[in-house]
């Protein structure tokens, strides 16, 4: 087995990793780079807790090899806030209580962000579909949907 040198840009920072090619993207992010905001909740690619954004697309980082993300731009939950200023989705989640234990929250925020980046004016159905890859056992989803709707409606406009 030959290790491979790859470059990952995570939250705007460049990282050089020399890894076993079987390393999953989530392992590269959590265990090697050390950003533990992204979680893991299953072995079957079902729960969505590991969701990150790669080149603007939400993906399950447990089902992507790190080598396949070589040279790509990755966004994790740690990259949402800018200089201590929370992202509108984060502010909305706080206002609407869209989390409880918080374990699914990082992945959920990533799915929500990817959804709104692609579709700034989603219908409720589209929001539900946008987060149906993320299991939440605590909230019953409706508070998450309300938060996303509020952001989409412009309640958290910057400035």
């Amino acid at each position: 087995m030959e290790k491979r040198l790859i470059h990952l840009n995570v939250n705007g920072e460049d990282y050089e990793l020399y890894i076993n090619p079987k390393t999953l993207l989530v392992e590269a992010i959590r265990d090697i780079i050390g950003l533990t905001g992204t979680k893991r909740g299953c072995e079957s690619g079902s729960c969505g807790a590991c969701t990150v954004i790669v080149d603007g697309m939400s993906v399950k980082s447990c089902s992507v090899l790190a080598v396949q993300a070589d040279g790509k731009k990755i966004l994790t939950v740690e990259g949402l806030e800018q200089n201590g200023k929370l992202h509108p989705l984060q502010r909305a989640f706080l206002d609407y209580g869209s989390f409880q234990c918080g374990f699914c929250t990082p992945g959920m925020l990533m799915s929500a962000k990817a959804l709104l980046d692609e579709n700034p004016n989603p219908t409720k159905e589209e929001i539900k579909e946008g987060i149906d890859g993320n299991i939440c056992r605590c909230t019953g989803y409706n508070s998450i949907i309300r938060a996303i709707e509020a952001v989409a409606k412009g309640q958290y406009k910057e400035g």
């Binding site: 087995m1 690619g45 969505g48 697309m57 089902s63 992507v64 090899l65 080598v67 396949q68 799915s111």
Partner: protein
């Protein structure tokens, strides 16, 4: 845990084909990996060589022309198919099917080639593409061959792909006038694979006479199953509720579902009947207004 492997990253299709020639016996191709990686993590698939073709953009396209119909490259993602204006215009059932395929994360990274090569009998694209009369082109260093998709699926998780071949492209014949294709699956969670599923293709002569029918059942057998006896009963006939009812029963009889923890064989057969009836009805009425 994933077993160690040697990672191969060909820079072009021809390099990939050469690598397959060299390592084919011990190699597995990874594209989106949405099915393969799970199997590898469970230790069920342990290749010595893993050849990555995800980055081969020469295989990533969705094209259409009036004469030849659609051609979809193997590394086109589900999401690209879901959002393709070309496909939405000419084969609306495809984006519709993709919309309900798994979840967005899977669709963003997973590919049509990977899905078809995985040959999960419960997979969504299979029945729909078979109903549309699709073919697949398989390439190797020695040449290429195009076979009907129906023949591509051989058994549970088994395809006609040879060890040195790559699935290169899916081609769909140009849409017939006055035709429609519908698809649905029965599940409890929206993004789940179907407990059973059904795709129906209906093409009409002038009037309401069906000249071509394809009924393809998903997860009701080891591969997408053509309900041929049922199809024959419809060809040349005028569409009508009583006929659909009868034909749906035949679909049910001819299906080969299993009993598992999600549903019994008996219930699956019943669902086949219900879905076939509904999809026939829908395809027929959509074809009429085409």
């Amino acid at each position: 845990m994933i077993r160690d492997f040697t990672y191969l990253k060909p820079s072009s299709l021809s390099e990939a084909l050469k690598m397959l020639k060299d390592y084919g016996e011990e190699a597995k191709i990874i594209c989106g990996g949405q099915s393969l990686l799970i199997l590898m993590r469970q230790g069920m698939v342990t290749p010595s060589y893993l050849m990555d073709i995800k980055h081969l953009d020469e295989l990533r396209y969705i094209r259409f022309d009036e004469r030849n119909g659609a051609r979809i490259g193997a590394t086109a993602t589900h999401r690209e198919i879901e959002r393709s204006p070309l496909l939405r215009q000419h084969y609306p059932v495809l984006p519709e099917m993709e919309r309900r395929l798994a979840t967005i994360q899977t669709r963003n990274w997973g590919t049509i080639g990977g899905n078809l090569a995985h040959a999960d009998p419960a997979g969504d694209p299979g029945p729909v593409l078979v109903a549309l009369g699709a073919s697949v082109t398989l390439k190797s260093l020695d040449g290429e061959r195009t076979i009907p998709l129906e023949e591509f699926f051989v058994d549970y998780f088994e395809t006609a792909l040879r060890k040195d071949e790559i699935l290169y492209e899916v081609s769909i014949p140009k849409p017939q006038r006055r035709s429609a294709c519908t698809y649905t699956k029965f599940n409890l969670i929206e993004s789940d694979m179907g407990i059973v599923s059904c795709a129906c293709f209906v093409a009409l002569e002038d009037g309401e006479v069906m000249k071509d029918v394809k009924i393809v059942l998903g997860n009701a057998g080891p591969v997408p199953l053509r309900a041929r006896r049922a199809e024959e009963m419809l060809k040349g006939k005028r569409g009508d509720e009583g006929l659909f009812e009868e034909v749906a029963k035949v679909c049910s009889e001819d299906s080969q579902p299993v009993t598992d923890i999600h549903a019994s064989e008996e219930y699956r057969r019943h669902l086949v009947y219900v879905l076939a009836k509904r999809m026939l009805r829908k395809a027929f009425s959509e074809a009429k207004v085409c």
